[in-house]
């Protein structure tokens, strides 16, 4: 057995402690708070981005879950993991979700920071986000405009390709749709996933089992914020309407409502505000 000197042992201990407390070995720190968003101007050719100041730190607010961006005149609930070293809007990124607190107006949330050049803007060219084939066609048309101005009236942004046919064997499909606090509006990307599930069911047949939940969030200051009573039911009603509108008959789905808020832990509480969908293919 190797024996270390007291000074070496101390050094090792310090290194381990430093690594642990710096957050680079430990999982990222979870955070949840409600505050005023601050808009930051990042140049004449860009949309604004949003930050929030909380407990002496500044965080970049990024909404990965579709369109749910912060709003001045309203507070925002921020839930997620602090990603040290990753910057959004010139501040430390929080990977998680945002919920605009729409129930009440907060006139004090009204700050826009002027552009100071500190945040580099991304290229806003929509074409760069398109599939390669579409992008090449768009660039080709752009090259033609000088000689043939009518090319500028041809479509440059196309519908996505239809979902491909699904082949057996059909297997159970699961999907969670998450919602902002006290909201029943789905996000665009998750709606696309739901559309795929319905497309899948057209081939596989089967039954949808839907469970609707509402949640609570434990904030960093210890306060627990519960969604309003009946939220799970409202989500379920809206989802049933959605399925019906999308051509799923009532006999092909069942919905269970979980009326009690799932208990808050302070870690990933936003995941409890959801509708879970399971498609069990026909035998």
């Amino acid at each position: 057995m190797r024996v270390y000197s007291p000074s070496t042992t101390l050094r090792i201990a310090i290194i381990i402690w430093t690594c642990l407390t710096s957050g680079k070995i430990l999982a990222n720190e979870h955070t949840a708070f409600v505050t005023c968003p601050i808009a930051r101007d990042i140049g004449p050719q860009s949309d604004v981005c949003f930050i929030a100041e909380y407990n002496g730190k500044t965080y970049g607010l990024f909404d990965p879950n579709g369109y749910n961006r912060p709003m001045l005149k309203h507070k925002v609930m921020v839930e997620g993991e602090v990603i040290d070293g990753e910057m959004i809007c010139g501040a430390t990124r929080i990977k998680g979700v945002l919920s605009v607190m729409r129930e009440e107006i907060s006139p004090e949330c009204n700050q826009i920071l002027p552009d100071d050049g500190s945040v580099q803007t991304k290229n806003n060219n929509l074409f760069l986000r398109m599939p390669e084939e579409h992008r090449q066609r768009a660039f080709k048309l752009m090259a033609q405009v000088a000689d043939n101005p009518e090319a500028s009236l041809q479509e440059a942004i196309y519908d996505p390709a239809p979902f491909p046919p699904v082949k057996p064997p059909y297997v159970r499909q699961k999907l969670n749709l998450h919602y902002p606090f006290n909201s029943k509006r789905s996000s665009g990307p998750e709606l696309r996933k739901l559309l795929y599930l319905i497309h899948y069911a057209k081939f596989s047949g089967g039954h949808f089992v839907v469970k609707s939940y509402q949640g609570a969030t434990r904030l960093d200051n210890g306060e627990v914020m519960e969604e309003k009573s009946g939220m799970a039911e409202e989500r379920a009603d809206m989802f049933a309407e959605l399925l019906t509108e999308l051509g799923i008959s009532k006999k092909d789905y069942s919905i269970e409502v979980q009326p009690e808020s799932v208990a808050a832990t302070g870690v990933g509480d936003w995941k409890n505000r959801r509708i879970s969908v399971e498609l069990n293919p026909a035998e």
Binding site: G66, M71, E103, V145, P149, E155
Partner: protein, 514 residues
């Protein structure tokens, strides 16, 4: 190469044919622009109509039609009106105030247009006096009586989230014992401009390239509604408040209200009306300064042919499409002051080209717009006119159809209007408030909320296409802007944009050519 040649040949032939049609069929069109119901006239393949800035052109892709018995043009109801009464070809299939005033002078107020039911401020007023028709004569506004509480929408009962109180009633109609909110028929009278019935094929196309919002309503991420007559998913671009989802539905509603028809229009009539509306395309075709807007040297997005060839319901806010296509052929780098003196035409064209660029490139903070900033876009949202609410290729309406409160109806943004009724909306405590105005809102027109009963919808209306603007002043649903300069000034003030005088002039020049 061959395809390109064919395209050019086709375009040239179409233009020649159009010109020939004008020459043959339409020689008298400009001298007699008012179209009375039942006029024994032919609606030609191509026609042009004079307005203050030039001429508005309409292409009727199905070819000439005899209108004497056509249900769009023939008087159907007891008041002698037809669809064409309020959707005049000379006015981009809408109705301008100058035309309305001329019609009053020509007929001494006896034209069916001025029918008591909605061509006057209230049917209970003494008819035939200009003051009883002041909203129509001065602002081009037609009275719309909306049931209160709202009728079932899409078959679903509506429980309003708010109460409504009449604060001021200059027309007398909202407190009228026969026509008002407390009358047996309980109606809210609002006053709106007739929307242009042109380029309807574009308005009825579901949006492309914005998945999943080609089939979903952006505001609540629920499926777009289905037309009651077709069962097919439809956008909601047709009417200011979205109550009429399809041309047939709109025509049915209009016939029963504006035409005072006792029975619904027949299926054949509705088919004919919808077919006609879907086959006509229009835009300004000649400008008094720029000349022929359809010439090969003009920007390809100008003139009615652009609407025929342009793909429908596409995003235009990208480097290729630039909303209304390329305008660089009119751009000028010459010294401005010299040009104005030497060549007014060239200077005007350069101004239009600059205006198109300002329209699509100059961003500003779009803030506190109910049902816009709060549908997930963020507040503020920094966009230009063209990359924001007017992003549809060749048409300039909002592609992902959305009703929004731009401040045209609600306090504090609207222009103070003593001629319109004023309502106080009080929303229930248990519902979402209007995101920026709260639960107590003063409005001249609750807009979409009179359909959905939702507090968040108060004052919201659907954005409009931007075609034929020169032919159909005044602008906005309530006719608040008498001309394009007032329209630009409203937005400049509303969003604190800070356009320079030159930029405002450029935007006005650009818009008048559309």
């Amino acid at each position: 190469m061959y395809n390109k040649y064919l395209e050019r040949l086709t375009k040239t032939c179409t233009v020649m044919l159009a010109c020939f049609s004008v020459f043959l069929v339409d020689a008298a069109e400009q001298s007699s622009s008012w179209w009375s119901p039942g006029d024994d006239r032919v609606f030609p393949r191509f026609s042009e109509y004079q307005n203050a800035s030039g001429r508005f052109g309409i292409i009727n892709t199905a070819g000439p039609i005899d209108t004497s018995k056509h249900p769009f043009f023939a008087a159907k109801g007891p008041n002698g009106r037809a669809c064409v009464t309020c959707h005049q070809p000379s006015d981009a299939m809408s109705l301008s105030v100058s035309t309305i005033q001329q019609r009053w002078r020509d007929t001494k107020g006896t034209d069916p247009l001025f029918a008591a039911i909605d061509g006057s401020n209230c049917p209970s007023l003494p008819q035939g006096k200009p003051e009883s028709h002041s909203l129509l004569l001065e602002k081009g506004l037609i009275r719309i009586a909306m049931p209160w509480p709202p009728r079932p929408f899409n078959g679903k009962p509506v429980e309003p989230e708010f109460s409504i109180e009449v604060v001021r009633d200059p027309t007398g109609c909202n407190l009228d014992p026969e026509w008002g909110i407390d009358s047996p028929s309980s109606a809210i009278s609002v006053f709106r401009r007739p929307r242009p019935v042109i380029n309807i094929a574009h308005l009825m196309e579901l949006p492309h390239g914005v998945p999943p919002f080609n089939n979903f309503f952006f505001n609540d991420a629920m499926p777009l509604p289905k037309g009651p007559d077709t069962g097919l998913t439809v956008p909601q671009q047709l009417m200011a408040d979205g109550r009429g989802l399809t041309p047939k539905f709109q025509a049915t509603d209009a016939a029963l209200t504006h035409l005072q028809l006792f029975d619904a229009l027949s299926d054949d009539d509705l088919e004919e009306i919808e077919a006609f509306e879907r086959q006509i395309y229009g835009a300004q075709s000649f400008d008094n300064l720029a000349g022929d807007l359809t010439s090969p040297q003009s920007p390809p997005g100008l003139g009615p042919q652009a609407l025929v060839i342009s793909p429908k319901a596409r995003l235009g806010n990208n480097p290729l499409n630039k909303i209304f296509g390329e305008f660089s052929m009119w751009a000028s780098t010459a010294d401005e002051s010299q040009e104005v003196q030497q060549d007014k035409v060239k200077a005007f064209k350069a101004s239009v080209a600059r205006g198109s660029e300002i329209f699509r490139e100059v961003r500003f903070y779009i803030s506190d717009v109910g049902m816009y900033n709060d549908k997930g876009l963020g507040n503020p949202f920094k966009r230009s006119c063209g990359s924001g609410c007017h992003n549809t290729l060749s048409m300039g309406m909002d592609l992902s159809p959305g009703f929004m409160d731009l401040g045209l109806n609600n306090f504090p943004w609207q222009n103070r209007r003593n001629d319109l009724p004023l309502f106080k909306i009080t929303c229930r405590d248990d519902v979402l408030p209007q995101s920026f105005l709260g639960r107590e809102i003063y409005t001249h027109d609750p807009g979409r909320a009179l359909i959905t009963g939702k507090c968040t919808d108060v004052g919201a209306t659907m954005t409009q296409q931007l075609r034929g603007l020169a032919a159909r002043a005044p602008y906005f649903a309530g006719g608040a802007a008498a001309n394009l300069r007032e329209l630009v000034d409203f937005y400049d003030r509303r969003f604190n944009i800070g356009y320079t005088e030159q930029e405002k002039a450029d935007l006005v020049n650009f818009m008048r050519t559309l």
